[in-house]
Symmetry: C2
Subunit: 357 residues, 2 copies
DNA sequence: GCACGTGATGAATACGCATGCATTGTTCGC
DNA sequence: GCGAACAATGCATGCGTATTCATCACGTGC
C-alpha cells in the first residue's frame, strides 16, 4: 500500500455531493453561511469518501494551526508531567493540540524555538527550560505569543505565570520555625532557574528575619531530581563534625522525597522525629503513605488557566500581551513531615491540613 | 502588536538575495541542485529577514509533515512518561516532532484518530489506550502507518511492538515459586488491555504448570495506578478468614509500589519477609531505596527503535507494513522484594541481579 | 571546433482549503 | 405588489512552498 494513496479532497466531496468546493469548506466551518440541507448532503458524501479536512492546508489561509508548542526541559520532576497532561487536556477541549519540544536539562531552548517557528504554532509555553531573550523577541516579532510557565526571565518582555515562589519559601520557613527548628538545610534545584532561586530567597529571608544566622542554613544542590536530592542529602551528613540540621527544605517535592528516603534508608533517621522535611509543588506522589509531605501547593489549574488566557489563543485581534508577570499564591499543606506545633494555632487562612490517601 | 505582522516568505528572501523563489527553496532543501555561492547569498538574506521556512506550506506539496502523533491513554503510570520522553527525543534527533493526543483512560481513541488525521501526521504511535479496528484501517487507507506500543489488537492488521508479556509473567511466577511461595495474589491493570491480560495469563499458566490451584491465585483490579493498587491491596486483606497469600504480583511497577506501601503502612506487613512482591516494567522509580523492586525489565529502548523502524518514517516508497507483531523478551531483575532462594542457582541467562541507587 | 552532458537557474504550476466578491433566490416590510 | 435586505451558493484567487520543465552556461572529449 502506498501513502496518500486515496486521500480525498474537498473537490472530491463537492463532486459527489453535487455542490461546489466552497460549500464543502463551509460545511466544515462552524458559523459559516450554509443551508442545513446542503450541509447534510456534504456530510454524507464526506462520510462515503472518508473525507477529513486537511488542517495543514487550511492553516495556510487561516494562519492558525491550532497547535501549541510546549517546551519541556526535563521530566525528572513529575510535576511537569502533570503540567504537560493538564495542558494537553485543556487545549484538546478547545480543539487544539500540543506539539512537544524536549530540551536537554540546563541547555537553552533556542534551537527548539527555531524549530517550532517552522511549524507556525499559535503559541508557545515554556517550562522547566532556559531561554534567551533573543528568542523571545524572535517569537514576538513573528506574532507568536510565548509564556513562561513557572519561570521568568528578568529584564525580558516575555510574559510569565508562576507560583509566588518567594512567598512559598517564606511559608515553609514559618512552618519550620513554628515547629521549633533552629538549624536548616536546603536542597536546591537548577541554579539557573528562577524557581529554585526564588524559593531559596524567600526561605532564607524569612529565617533571617527571625534571627537565624546564614551559617545555620546549609545549601546543597540536588539537580531537581529524586536521585540528585538523595545523594545531596547524604553529602550533608558526610561531615560528621558538622551539627545535624533540624529541618530540611527540598526545593520541590520530588527532591524532598529523595531526601526523606536517604534519611530513612541510608542514614537511619526518622522523619519528622529526628528531622523535619518540607517540599514544594504538592505533587500527588508526595501525598502517598510513606511521605505525606508537608509542602506548598502550586495552584496548578489556576496557573494553567492564566497561562492560556495570556496566550489569547482565540483573540480575533491577535494582540500579544508582553511583559506580564503573574505570580499566584501557593498554600501551605500540612501533612506529616513537620510536627504540628502543639501550642501554635496555625493561621488557617494561609494553610490547611489534610488527610491522606 | 499584531500576529503574522511581518513573517517574511521565500519571495522576500529571493528579492533581497537577487535570486528566484525556487533558489530559496533549494537553498533550504538538502540535496537539491544549487551552487554553494547562491546558497550563501540566500542564507545571508534569510538571516537579515529572520526568515524561517514555513513547514506547513511545504508539507502541502511534499505530503510529509514531520509530525508523529502519540496517543496516550493516561499518565498515571510513569512508565509511559518515560516512553513519551524517549520517543520525543529520538524523533527530534530525526527532525521530527511529537504531537500529543491524550485520551480518557479506558475510552477508545477513535476520536483522537479523527483529529490527528486532520493534521496529516506521518505516523501514529498508540500506547496505553484502546483502539477500534475501524480506525486502524482508516489510517491504513490514508497511508498513515500506525503502530501499537505495548498493546495489540487481536484480529487487527495493525502492527504492534510489545514486550513478551506472557513470558514475563512466567518469569515472575518462576521467581515466586523458587522462593517458596504457594499462594498468590495479582493486582491487574486495565482489563481491556492486552498487556495486563497477557502478563496474568503467563503468570497463571506457569503457576498451574507447577501444580498451583487456580483458587490459590487471587485476582483484584488496580486500575493501573498507584492509588488503585493501594486500595486493591487493602481489599485483598479485608476478608480476615481468607488465608494471606505468600506472594503478590503487581502487573506493573507503579501498582507493585502502591501494593508495597499498603502492605507496609496500612497492614503492618514486611516485604519481602511477610509477603514477597514483584512488579513489571522496571521503571526507575521502582529502583529507589524503599522499593528495590524485583521486576521484569521491558527493553524500552529496543522497543522504541523497533517501533520507529516499523513506522518507516523515511522510506521513500512509503510502504506500510501491516500486521507485524514483535514481542521482545523482557528480563527478570532481581532486587529485594523477593527473597533469593538459598539453594536455588538462578539461571543467569534469564535474570540478573543489580545493586541499587 | 563541435556535439553533448552536466549543473545551475527561473518561470510556472500544483498542493487543499478559506474567503472576498458576485449572483441568485427568498422573505419581509410597507 | 414592489424594493430592500438577506441567506445561500459558486467562482476565482491567494496562502508559502516544492517541483517540473525548459533554458542557459559551461566544460569535456574527441
Amino acid at each position: 500500500m502506498t501513502r496518500s494513496s486515496n486521500r480525498s479532497t474537498s473537490f472530491d466531496v463537492a463532486a459527489l455531493a453535487g455542490v461546489s468546493q466552497s460549500a464543502v469548506s463551509r460545511a466544515f466551518t462552524p458559523g459559516s453561511s450554509i443551508a442545513e440541507e446542503t450541509r447534510q448532503k456534504v456530510y454524507e458524501a464526506a462520510s462515503k469518501l472518508n473525507y477529513v479536512p486537511n488542517s495543514i492546508a487550511s492553516s495556510l489561509t487561516t494562519k492558525r494551526t491550532n497547535i501549541v508548542a510546549l517546551i519541556l526541559g526535563h521530566m525528572a520532576n513529575p510535576f511537569y508531567t502533570h503540567v504537560l497532561h493538564a495542558f494537553s487536556q485543556k487545549l484538546q477541549e478547545q480543539g487544539r493540540q500540543v506539539l512537544i519540544f524536549t530540551v536537554d536539562p540546563g541547555a537553552e531552548s533556542d534551537e527548539a524555538i527555531l524549530h517550532l517557528l517552522k511549524y507556525q504554532v499559535d503559541g508557545v509555553i515554556l517550562t522547566a527550560a532556559q531561554l534567551s531573550t533573543r528568542m523571545t523577541s524572535m517569537c514576538h516579532d513573528r506574532g507568536i505569543p510565548i509564556v513562561l510557565f513557572n519561570r521568568y526571565i528578568p529584564g525580558s518582555d516575555a510574559s510569565g505565570v508562576r507560583c509566588d515562589n518567594a512567598a512559598g519559601g517564606r511559608l515553609i520557613a514559618e512552618a519550620f520555625l513554628a515547629a521549633g527548628a533552629r538549624s536548616f538545610a536546603m536542597i536546591t534545584g537548577d541554579p539557573k532557574g528562577s524557581t529554585s532561586k526564588d524559593r531559596v530567597r524567600g526561605f532564607v529571608e524569612r529565617l533571617q528575619e527571625n534571627g537565624v544566622k546564614r551559617s545555620d542554613i546549609m545549601e546543597v544542590e540536588g539537580q531537581s531530581s529524586y536521585e540528585g536530592a538523595f545523594n545531596a542529602t547524604l553529602s550533608i551528613f558526610r561531615d560528621k563534625d558538622r551539627p545535624r540540621p533540624d529541618a530540611l527544605f527540598g526545593i520541590n517535592d520530588i527532591m524532598a522525597m529523595g531526601a526523606i528516603d536517604a534519611l530513612r534508608y541510608r542514614l537511619g533517621l526518622r522523619v519528622p522525629e529526628d528531622l523535619m522535611v518540607a517540599g514544594f509543588d504538592d505533587i500527588p506522589e508526595g501525598r502517598r503513605a510513606p511521605y505525606q509531605l508537608t509542602t506548598v501547593r502550586q495552584p496548578i489549574n489556576q496557573m494553567i488557566e492564566t497561562t492560556l488566557s495570556i496566550l489569547h489563543l482565540d483573540d480575533p485581534t491577535h494582540r500579544i500581551e508582553r511583559g506580564i508577570d503573574r505570580p499566584i499564591s501557593g498554600r501551605l499543606i500540612w501533612r506529616n513531615t513537620i510536627p504540628v506545633p502543639p501550642d501554635h494555632r496555625w493561621d488557617t487562612s494561609k494553610a490547611e491540613s489534610e488527610s491522606v490517601v
